[in-house]
């Protein structure tokens, strides 16, 4: 989840947040998001490389938010889900689209959306959300 953050912090995380770039340990083939600098399995033997995820995944758990945190009032009701990415590893994210039909096991894909606006005069924060794939039924 993204919460109100400082401008420099937002800027540093922008690349991975916009593009789903994590890391992959080429020693054991494990993928990570957000990216890591050390593989917890291989430790010193691990070798990590930057890794681009495809943006496809499926819902493994979710909750519908009806009482939103500050800044998300206009979005309710919305769903926050844990998504298993096609390449492995799980990520939490905001699900858009037909959330009345959200179900565990449904396929989602990453879409670029506004995450929140920092008031009327602050920055507009963008990033990835997850859209339920059509023809899921």
């Amino acid at each position: 989840m993204v919460h109100k953050s400082s401008v420099p912090l937002h800027w540093r995380m922008q690349k991975s947040r916009y593009n789903l770039i994590g890391s992959k340990c080429v020693t054991c083939n494990t993928v990570f998001f957000p990216s890591r600098i050390l593989c917890p399995k291989c430790r010193r033997k691990g070798k990590l490389e930057s890794f681009q995820f495809s943006g496809k995944g499926e819902i493994i758990s979710y909750t519908i938010i009806k009482v939103p945190p500050e800044g998300f009032e206009k979005n309710i009701p919305y769903a926050i889900a844990v998504i298993k990415l096609e390449e492995g590893t799980n990520i939490a994210g905001h699900v858009v689209g037909d959330i009345e039909n959200i179900e565990i096991g449904k396929k989602v894909r990453a879409v670029f959306r506004k995450i929140y606006e920092d008031g009327k005069d602050g920055l507009i924060h963008y990033g990835l959300k997850w859209e339920l794939e059509e023809g899921n039924e």
């Binding site: 916009y18 593009n19 206009k74 858009v96 506004k114 507009i124």
Partner: protein, 346 residues
């Protein structure tokens, strides 16, 4: 080697509101409005969609079709009249999201509904001059309309992106513009909604510019309407392009594939670009297309486009316009007003 469209792609938000639903609020007769404007329903952006997010989704599709590394793009132009910031370019956000890299020229363009096609013209010139290998031009909008205004039936959201370069799927054989100082439609700084000169928007504005630019374009290349398989004209509603096409000597058969406005409304800077996408989705190699945009204020950009055999493999690499038109969810006026910020809460 010829220069033209190497890849194209579009994006249309999922929500729709019908003419009937809007007339219920204002007590108008839906059949009169539908007949008068020639539209059934229009697209509406979700609460978290804007010109930047529409541009990113359209840009991804254009890159898929182009099949090039994103960092090969040397220039990005985004034409819109609904850039989310007054100061801070939409293009920098879109470039980062599309991973276009930093060796990149970016500018946001504004010219009412024709800023997207102005971007295509800029990219053609850069490529021909050898300054860049590929450029990307995007026309996208989430257009605003005052509640109760006639524009509320048509002002829609959507966009299209074009990768311009060599080895095109559709060669751009020529382009020209027609520009005058005409006050048909405007919006001042800090105003929520645009204003327009009502009836003034027709004859001296839309028709004069679209017809002049198209006529000049055909004359320049020595072409006649019968040399074209398709014509694409800016679509403020369903009626204007139909009448302009007739005046120019084109048949309904040549126009209808591009006439997406009847099902999604007027996507402003995305309007004629989306019409072109829908034509490229079905065109055959050797088909010639005339496209003319229109932007209030006022000007038109006209293009002669010739489809090459590269279209056959590349167009299957991304979602087509028809996919986005059919992928829809109708909403009521209450939800529409909430999404579009038409209800003032402070």
């Amino acid at each position: 080697m010829s220069v033209g469209i190497v890849g194209y792609g579009c994006y249309i938000p999922k929500f729709r509101i019908t003419v009937e639903e809007i007339t219920k609020v204002w007590g108008e007769n839906p059949e009169n409005i539908k007949k008068g404007l020639g539209i059934e329903e229009k697209s509406v952006p979700d609460i978290d969609e804007d010109t930047v997010t529409i541009s990113v989704e359209a840009g991804k599709n254009a890159l898929l079709r182009a099949g090039i590394k994103p960092e090969k793009i040397g220039a990005l132009y985004i034409g819109s009249e609904s850039h989310p910031y007054v100061v801070k370019p939409s293009g920098t956000i879109v470039a980062e999201a599309l991973q276009l890299g930093t060796d990149l020229m970016v500018a946001d363009l504004e010219f009412a509904c024709k800023a997207g096609t102005a971007g295509i013209q800029c990219c053609i010139s850069h490529v021909k001059a050898g300054q860049i290998e590929y450029g990307m031009a995007i026309g996208a909008d989430t257009s605003q309309s005052r509640p109760g205004d006639a524009l509320e039936y048509t002002a829609a959201a959507g966009g299209a992106a074009f990768v311009i370069g060599k080895d095109p799927l559709a060669e751009i054989e020529g382009t020209c513009s027609f520009t005058t100082d005409t006050p048909d439609f405007w919006r001042r700084d800090k105003q929520d909604y645009p204003r327009h000169g009502a009836r003034f928007t027709g004859k001296p504005a839309y028709f004069k510019h679209v017809v002049s630019a198209s006529t000049n374009m055909m004359k320049k290349l020595g072409l006649r309407p019968s040399d074209f398989a398709y014509v694409v004209l800016h679509m403020p509603n369903g009626k204007f392009p139909t009448r302009a096409a007739k005046v120019l000597g084109f048949s309904m058969e040549q126009l209808k594939q591009s006439l997406v406005v009847t099902r999604i409304g007027n996507c402003y800077s995305g309007s004629s670009p989306l019409g072109l996408c829908n034509v490229l989705d079905v065109a055959k190699p050797g088909d010639r297309i005339l496209m003319t945009s229109y932007g209030s204020g006022a000007g038109s950009d006209s293009f002669v486009i010739n489809v090459t055999d590269k279209i056959l493999e590349r167009r299957e690499k991304a979602k087509k316009t028809e996919y986005y038109i059919k992928r829809k969810q109708n909403i009521d006026y209450g939800r529409y007003a909430r999404i579009m910020g038409k209800l003032k809460t402070e």
